[in-house]
Subunit: 398 residues, 4 copies
Amino acid sequence: MTGATPRTAGRHFLQIPGPSNVPDAVLRAMARPTIDHRGPEFAAMTRRILDRLRTVLRTSRPVLLFPSSGTGAWEAALVNTLSPGDRVLAFETGQFAALWRDVAARLGLEVVWIEGDWRHGIDPATVEATLAGDARRTIKAVLAVHNETSTGITSRVAAIRRAIDAAGHPALLMVDTISSLGSLDYHHEAWGVDVTIGCSQKGLMLPPGLGLNAVSDRALAASRSARLPRSYWDWTPVLEANERGFFPYTPPTNLLYGLDAALDLLLDEGLERVFARHRRLAEATRRAVAGWTLELCPLDPEEYSHSLTAVWMPDGHDADALRRVILDRFDLSLGTGLGKVKGRVFRIGHLGDLNDLMLAGTLCGVEMGLALAGVPHAAGGVGAALDYLRSSTGVPAR
Amino acid sequence: MTGATPRTAGRHFLQIPGPSNVPDAVLRAMARPTIDHRGPEFAAMTRRILDRLRTVLRTSRPVLLFPSSGTGAWEAALVNTLSPGDRVLAFETGQFAALWRDVAARLGLEVVWIEGDWRHGIDPATVEATLAGDARRTIKAVLAVHNETSTGITSRVAAIRRAIDAAGHPALLMVDTISSLGSLDYHHEAWGVDVTIGCSQKGLMLPPGLGLNAVSDRALAASRSARLPRSYWDWTPVLEANERGFFPYTPPTNLLYGLDAALDLLLDEGLERVFARHRRLAEATRRAVAGWTLELCPLDPEEYSHSLTAVWMPDGHDADALRRVILDRFDLSLGTGLGKVKGRVFRIGHLGDLNDLMLAGTLCGVEMGLALAGVPHAAGGVGAALDYLRSSTGVPAR
Amino acid sequence: MTGATPRTAGRHFLQIPGPSNVPDAVLRAMARPTIDHRGPEFAAMTRRILDRLRTVLRTSRPVLLFPSSGTGAWEAALVNTLSPGDRVLAFETGQFAALWRDVAARLGLEVVWIEGDWRHGIDPATVEATLAGDARRTIKAVLAVHNETSTGITSRVAAIRRAIDAAGHPALLMVDTISSLGSLDYHHEAWGVDVTIGCSQKGLMLPPGLGLNAVSDRALAASRSARLPRSYWDWTPVLEANERGFFPYTPPTNLLYGLDAALDLLLDEGLERVFARHRRLAEATRRAVAGWTLELCPLDPEEYSHSLTAVWMPDGHDADALRRVILDRFDLSLGTGLGKVKGRVFRIGHLGDLNDLMLAGTLCGVEMGLALAGVPHAAGGVGAALDYLRSSTGVPAR
Amino acid sequence: MTGATPRTAGRHFLQIPGPSNVPDAVLRAMARPTIDHRGPEFAAMTRRILDRLRTVLRTSRPVLLFPSSGTGAWEAALVNTLSPGDRVLAFETGQFAALWRDVAARLGLEVVWIEGDWRHGIDPATVEATLAGDARRTIKAVLAVHNETSTGITSRVAAIRRAIDAAGHPALLMVDTISSLGSLDYHHEAWGVDVTIGCSQKGLMLPPGLGLNAVSDRALAASRSARLPRSYWDWTPVLEANERGFFPYTPPTNLLYGLDAALDLLLDEGLERVFARHRRLAEATRRAVAGWTLELCPLDPEEYSHSLTAVWMPDGHDADALRRVILDRFDLSLGTGLGKVKGRVFRIGHLGDLNDLMLAGTLCGVEMGLALAGVPHAAGGVGAALDYLRSSTGVPAR
């Protein structure tokens, strides 16, 4: 008998910020027999879903779904609004910002790339200065990642919009909410976002397979003159078909069943309560990190993410070695460091379908793993988190 | 009490050729908790799936999956191999051929479009003549729909390849197998296909949400110089990640669970038996149509589809009125006529997870519906089908 | 390749009158995680279920559930109301009547057994005459099977109650509704039944595992002096615990989830519509039998069951040989002949979650099987059934 | 916004010792369509299940299943082996021993009841002395609860058998393993047990609904002369039908699907590893209790249960008030104190499908709850448990 806890026993603790914990009600909904995607029952479901997605995104304008990953929704945002050679402004906040830049470049756009240290979000002052300097208005869009999944850093979207406006610049604002939508407060319309990019597998509590765009009237107007080739991602036929409750090509019916069920859960709990729950779980996680005397990846408390926490490893210690010990011994999958912070950070997801004790179990696994992997730390992380969870019940300060 | 059979009782008979009947084992597999798509369990599943897809496609070369509809897989085939302004040869065999043409045109390709009557497949002689006439070899690809879902017509892919070769033309051969893959015999490699396009929701017996490309070495070579912009659909990062069992962006894990389970079913039954079963069910369906003294949409028996049957309505009778009666009274969803044959045909799907009595129940619904809708017909369709099903057990003549 | 239709393809047609077709919504409900059976969520579910079972049984008095088969619910009825050596009156209507008699005998009761030919229901005149002749009132209970699952014969419960009353006899009336509850009209209270026995796996559209008793005040009064030993089946602690929404021992929570979902389906469709649907499907089945020139097991049209049909085989032909052919070739499980009619009858279930085309498919399987097994018959059964299903939509004459 | 963690978010932590955490693979198995319980596929499943249950029970003799709760399996053990007025010896180890006694009494047996303090298991010396004093051998059976679910106390069954043998007494030994089977090491045959009573919903990791008896040859011999009335519980027809893979009445097919899947999990992990896992989780729980400076219900370390832990509350503090706080704030259902220890103990289940972090999350919930409910304690429980879980990997000392 080896020493490891058998992997066959008990729930796998999936705490990577990627596909978050999917509620069993959503999984069971996905097992319904597939219905005719051209029939009346399907049309009613489509309308019910799109209406409620507008509520989640806080917008009165269209929301569109694609059978795709979130990556596809990035591409959809770009090809519908831009033309070959157009310039876009993007910010190195982390791995996903860099990947989105790569998508833009591969599609033939020119990216104005503002370098960053992966420990800060987008600086609104830089946005304003850069756009103010773009006298000929050659920059057509600002690409902002709301919540960097690789670093646990949340950029201030409303401030970015204010910066664009302060520069008097007409660029579209496109925002990736892949790891924030449904977990963090977000206002597509009030914040003046032109295209919001989202996907199914995080705060919406579904398995992966659905990409999402929410669009403004300005984005729709831009799509009428945009000249990047587009077919699959083209908004126009989707919007036309959605009017009648349908899609221009075969939609992923069973994922839509899951989305329908997930929206029930989110709206039954109430968005405000969902967001407050995530803020509280995030604060508990940060208390644990402080209790371990470890450092967070984000350096500015204003930018701490409430949906996931990236922890900075002490020098000379490999995050992936730690992650491996924790997976082998405790069946807990933590997120790996990506790109430039490979080996330097590990990530604890606390988005989606999560409650106090699931988080507490996760933090216990991390605390034991730190000891087993020989990572210098204090043992007080779990205790600090429990103190906080016990004494707080509602909305934390920020 | 109204006259209609209550919709809440009994199984909905979904016989549209679209999303075919999904086995309950596949649906239940999709309800498994989502695992880490960067972990070892996931990698093993990816390899197991891709290996077995190669068996289904009868190829030793790569098969790639996309989180997409089949439409996306069309686009993937084109953008990976072609450059702006390239000419492609395509054939009006029906609605899906026309839609694929539209995708090509929207992406900036020039389509040489061979008109058709929607009642015949692709004529290999036309392929040869057209290509032979293309002295400057400006045509870069031939787009062929193997099994036209809108008409129930199967084109002869091997003969098309022979025609291309007879013309000594270097064009790539791209084949849409969306409604044939896993239902009809198909040989990606032996038939010299360069890109095969498929999807999850028909013969593979899954819900929609996965697109598929199988590629030849020539197609891979073409992808190295092709200049249509591509990012989401780019084969290269997919092939690289697949080597290690992963994907370049978040894959639709729960649909892959379903595919894994569906491949178990297909290969446990045995491909030859699966194909024979569909030939037999198709022949029974055609016997029923003959018994009703109705006409098939396809006019050439060599081109009858074994995965679905499109029935031509007598003049003056609307297929959709018939379909509506049948749906209301018997909870049976037949496929609508699409595009040019709207109202002129209805379609009976007999692909995927189907057996004798499910088909028999379907044919009973059609026979009763014909009478209720006042469509001129003889009542002998069900009887003829039962005679055939009773007396035949194995592989029919063709 | 052998001739048989592969068993792995398509839905198994389970038409035995036993565990009827369970709706997928019920199956998925049963996959919910098991909750605390002493918590408030459970209590609410218990109350919701018991309230609605009273609606189905048309009674204002208690309904009790047991983790058991229907056999257990027979035993529960007897041990709660009777004492060692008590006499009960029972009628040989078929196999299940005989099995219930055996239960009574094994528990130490004396059974007055009225022999029968398995082709008629209980004769109310015999009930009256027998009870009238019991001058000393030694008979304590009349055991009646409402719908004999082995013969497809429905006895007239209201008439039996009138016969008991006409004899002025105080015996309790106990009625087995195992294959009628939820499929056939039934009135526990209006018909003066003292104990109704039911179970989960037929008209209630659940898998097996739950037994049911509905009780009258007279039955409850009898339970206070009854002296057969009882513990597991004792009504008293069940009734007490049910008051608070609980059970005296661990209840089968996941079957209760299924029952909760099945009651949704039954009451959403509406009991009257459910019963009418079954009458109509039964009539179609009988038209098929007549079309085949075969005989029904029941000889009196007043006693035809609307939940299942037993077909009498021509002399010299074995029902089980026919059933085997049909199972092997068409994956259709028909009910076997039981007890005295072993080999003489086969049974077609048409209860539970069934609609026109599921029945039509079943009848097609039988018609083909009759030919394959060399059973003398006319081929017109399916046609006759379709004629009826097509032309009738509502409630048949009776 | 109220202070409570929303109940709709995250997994309910069901830690009551009752229906333990059921693996999702078992839940999904239960959602398979119900098959014919008289067909060959069913027979193969029955044999596969019974063979493997013999492995779990470590017996070569028959194991029988009933559609029932565990309470029914108690009754089955008694009515098959005993006659009216027979004397049985039973021991007040806790609530379930008392309930079993009540069953025996209600069935007309005379119970020799050895009182206890609910903090010790059965004393083998008392067994020997009592039986030795039964000169006329009027005691026919010894009823022993292996693992008292109400107190977390495990009695030493092998020692009890030795005590019976030392007294030279022919009484049958009947053992309730309801909360030990599949979680704690148990040897039906080697320990000389005559009837083992078990059920589905604890260590077998199923929802409730199946009762179990394992029998010795002596028990079978006793059943031939036993005279308590029996029908539903009668072993004889079950054993006869099981020979052919069937049951004498309709079995709970979907629960058997679940059992089939659960046995896969148990035997894939390996019984020795399963037992070691539970010993380790139990020790961690006891370390937590010690860390809290609370007392265990069991007073003898030799009798600590490895499947659940009952914690003794400090005087003046109500266990149910604590449980309520923990349920409301953390969605964690702890077991209530039953019978004589109502309010004095709460119970932590650690049987079934459980791993380190699920237990850790549970202990975090208890630790926070103790503080919130104002129960005097030290905060070091979680820390002590984590120290143990981190440093131990295999089989603990005992």
